[in-house]
Symmetry: C2
Subunit: 257 residues, 2 copies
């Protein structure tokens, strides 16, 4: 089992992912939103890589059953129902709905990796469950940080480091390369207090400036759900495998999916 970590995705071709097992991470905030939406009863999350395509998918669907959501440079897009704050994706709002999701980095990373044989989404909320499932699958893994506009960011990398670390805890002989080693070093230095770490990153500071400081607290919650988003037929749905119970261990408002 070999673990390859990528700090961004713009240099990778879509075909790179063909046949691979991939985990997409965009801690602030797309992957946290996707996990939260599914945990709170959303039927599916449809990631799109352009606003035009989001509008097109939305127009083709029954409006009562779909929610057009997402952000551009942290802010809700005009005409969209929801932005990209996990706090917006409550049970009351998303239960039973198809979420059409456009974001600056995260949804594009999922779309980029769409040819993967297995494509999952991870954040701190479901990280232990994802690690356990990957070790059970026992296949080489591509950990794909969404990054920030093609560049490295610290929060995704520290999360990747935690995922590598959890996999190695369960499977000592998993192989890692330079990027995985570096991510684990960054985790060791910055991972003791996830909220503090996120407050000090470039993207964390930008979110605080734009009034989303409460999101950082939500995004730093660790191991609160076993839900693993799995990409199938163009949408992210709850993974249903033996041993993985798609339920929220302890969510903010006590909702169970």
């Amino acid at each position: 089992m070999k673990i390859n970590v990528h700090y961004s995705n713009q240099h990778l071709d879509e075909l790179y992912f063909t046949g691979k097992t991939t985990v997409v991470i965009d801690i602030l905030r797309a992957s946290t939103v996707i996990v939260t939406a599914l945990a709170n009863g959303a039927k599916e999350v449809i990631p799109v890589s352009t606003v035009d395509f989001a509008m097109k998918v939305s127009g083709n669907a029954f409006s009562g059953q779909t929610l057009l959501c997402g952000e551009r440079n942290t802010k809700k897009i005009e005409g969209f129902v929801l932005g990209n704050s996990p706090l917006e994706f409550s049970h009351e709002v998303v239960n039973g709905k198809s979420i059409i999701h456009y974001t600056t980095n995260g949804s594009k990373a999922v779309v980029k990796a769409k040819f993967s044989e297995n494509l999952f989404v991870a954040c701190f909320h479901n990280l232990p469950a994802v690690a356990k499932h990957l070790v059970e699958l026992n296949k080489d893994v591509e950990i794909l940080c969404a990054g920030s506009n093609g560049n490295f960011n610290l929060e995704d990398t520290v999360c990747a480091g935690k995922l590598v670390s959890e996999i190695l805890f369960l499977k000592e002989d998993a192989e890692i390369g330079d990027a995985g080693r570096a991510a684990m070093i960054l985790l060791k230095t910055l991972g003791k207090n996830l909220l503090k770490m996120m407050k000090e990153t470039e993207h964390g500071k930008l979110l605080i400036e734009n009034g989303f400081s409460a999101d950082l607290k939500v995004c730093s919650e660790y191991g609160i759900t076993n839900i693993i988003p799995y990409f199938i037929s163009g949408a992210l749905k709850k993974l249903d495998v033996p041993g993985i119970h798609s339920e929220t261990i302890a969510s903010k408002d006590g909702e169970k999916s």
Copy 2:
């Protein structure tokens, strides 16, 4: 003064660099070779991004005055005079010559950044001199790690971390982002023994496997020259500025440029 660190270059457009001050790092081994060649009296190093173009440039030049050099996946290319080991670029071999230089990552990174207003090459050999010169210039800096085929590598990042650290030592208020912070954390953890660090990286291991372990020792030598390669009219030449003396402080064989 803001310092932006990039762990690879494939996601960046050539035009990104227009008007910028850029430093290219490819520790194993292109940037070390470029500095060594100029330190040992080469007239210039002409970086090329394809083998075809290397052949074309070579064909147009007087063969006695040019040397076709470089590697593909660590090995010398058939028909080339030299490979990409700094040990090959002695005073005897390169003095007065134009070096046409093709490598898997480093020369491509230089060519990618060719529209920069100021374009320098750094390795551990000339790092203190480069840091000093950048602080004197007092412009925003792009530190461009060549990386490995578009991916992150540890040795370039640790070198970038050292460059950031030296700049901050000379100019405390220089701004850094996530990538610069991460590079400094990696430097702190791995930078105490540069040779050991390089032996444990993916590329370091590959070089050892292919018989180039002596190169790692050469590439880990720190602060042995003040020579700064500067890109002008398609070639890297010795920078000639007041306060920077283009000389080798202590080279392996005692040669002075």
